[in-house]
Symmetry: C2
């Protein structure tokens, strides 16, 4: 029997990744890439560890997913990410021709939505607000700890 998992199920996986980032003192953002109901890539923000501004969860997940599939293009995949992607990541998702993007919390300051959906590939479906509260909570806690 094929079990079709819900968006919440996969966002929980992305949250587990975000939690790993939190524990490593990285801004807690996590992402997973799902293809045909299966997680093919998992990543969390590693900008501090790698000393690299490009090491966002989404970028690392894109690279890992392409490796897993043997294809640069992710048109049959969904990327779940706990936070609204920034313009860099949205640009990367556009090049990958991502099929579907699902994000949790919004990021009014750094998120790609400031520039509108046209920054993504025209065929990418977008949903947001999935487990928003849990996704935001981790971010809020992180910046509270820093104060």
């Amino acid at each position: 029997m094929l079990t079709v998992f819900s968006d919440n199920h996969f966002m929980k996986q992305a949250l587990l990744e975000a939690q790993k980032a939190y524990e490593a003192d990285e801004i807690p953002v996590g992402a997973v890439v799902v293809c045909r109901n299966k997680v093919i890539a998992r990543a969390h923000n590693q900008t501090e560890l790698l000393n690299d501004v490009t090491a966002h969860a989404e970028m690392l997940a894109l690279t890992a997913a392409a490796n897993a599939l043997g294809s640069k293009y992710l048109d049959e995949c969904t990327l779940y990410v706990t936070l609204e992607p920034c313009t860099m990541c949205a640009g990367g998702l556009a090049w990958a021709q991502l099929g579907r993007l699902v994000y949790g919390a919004s990021d009014d300051k750094r998120g790609f939505m400031r520039f509108g959906k046209s920054i993504l590939h025209p065929k990418t479906n977008v949903e947001f607000g999935i487990m928003m509260e849990e996704c935001s909570k981790l971010m809020t806690q992180f910046f509270k700890d820093k104060r």
Copy 2:
């Protein structure tokens, strides 16, 4: 005696990188990062070789420059790139707080300028059109070969 090199000098270095991409059958874009009059990173587009849409010249140069400096931030650096960066790369340059961006040819279809300069860090100075003809020529030749 300190020789201060011109923008043309460094763009020529970026063009040498673009030429390497051309020879490897990659879209011919090259970049160098210069800090205190010295090239600290060189890269060219490797999306085909690495099977990775994120492997643009600028992204690879950002990562390499951060490694060379031991700092994620490139506020004292200039990035020379043969083609106008895309939104992904511009977003990366923003996170790196790049001091100065110099690009050769414009890219009306994919370039970040469609979304305006605010996609970059507010402190990044931008110049373009340096050796534009040489930079464009390589791109035109590449796509002509493909037909």
